[in-house]
Amino acid sequence: GQQVMQIPQYQHVQEGEDFTTYCNSSTTLSNIQWYKQRPGGHPVFLIQLVKSGEVKKQKRLTFQFGEAKKNSSLHITATQTTDVGTYFCAGRKIIQGAQKLVFGQGTRLTINP
């Protein structure tokens, strides 16, 4: 019940193809954040979703938060080589009476130019 599951673990695409990663929790999340970690780098905040059914866009990136606030997705349209990295979702949930941020395992995106 503490985990946030993220799929797929790896995704390799041709440049210009779309990419989607999915995040799922067995319990309701207060909010969900998405981070990007470039190879050899550290996680960098992308966005936060709070409301049920919320959809946010950042240029070619579209983030969705499920109606039940248990799942989320990140979709990248027409990938570019600069999109390479690992994308993590992080769900905020109540664990043992305290609100904690739980990271998914990440989806590593590689791109063939």
């Binding site: 550290h42 936060q48 993590f88 992080a90 305290a98 990271f103 395992q105």
Partner: protein, 115 residues
């Protein structure tokens, strides 16, 4: 405006040794959280410090301990190192008042290798 800084960037230890990692939060931030990131995995929450006290803790043994200083900087100590402690240790800073809703600012991390 300096971001989150961590030291050292890399270090190698042997089993049974002790290690201390350091973190200076982003200017204006008062809360420091430590994460362990094993290769190919997501960051795992170790603990969080605010007002020089440990406020929350993840599922890590007592070998992992920390400290926060009056200037908000923090240390992570790991005793009796095991091979499985090899990982990237990330420090993340934030403001407590927005912690429940706001983003984390991560440092570059300290990569620990235990031989």
């Amino acid at each position: 405006d300096a971001g989150v800084t961590q030291s050292p960037t890399h270090l190698i230890k042997t089993r049974g040794q002790q290690v201390t990692l350091r973190c200076s939060p982003k200017s204006g931030h008062d809360t420091v959280s430590w994460y362990q990131q094993a290769l190919g995995q997501g960051p795992q929450f170790i603990f969080q410090y605010y007002e020089e006290e440990e406020r929350q803790r993840g599922n890590f043994p007592d070998r992992f301990s920390g400290h926060q200083f009056p200037n908000y900087s923090s240390e992570l100590n790991v005793n009796a190192l095991l091979l499985g402690d090899s990982a990237l240790y990330l420090c993340a800073s934030s403001l407590l008042v927005v912690l429940r809703a706001g983003e984390l600012f991560f440092g570059e991390g300290s990569r620990l290798t235990v031989l």
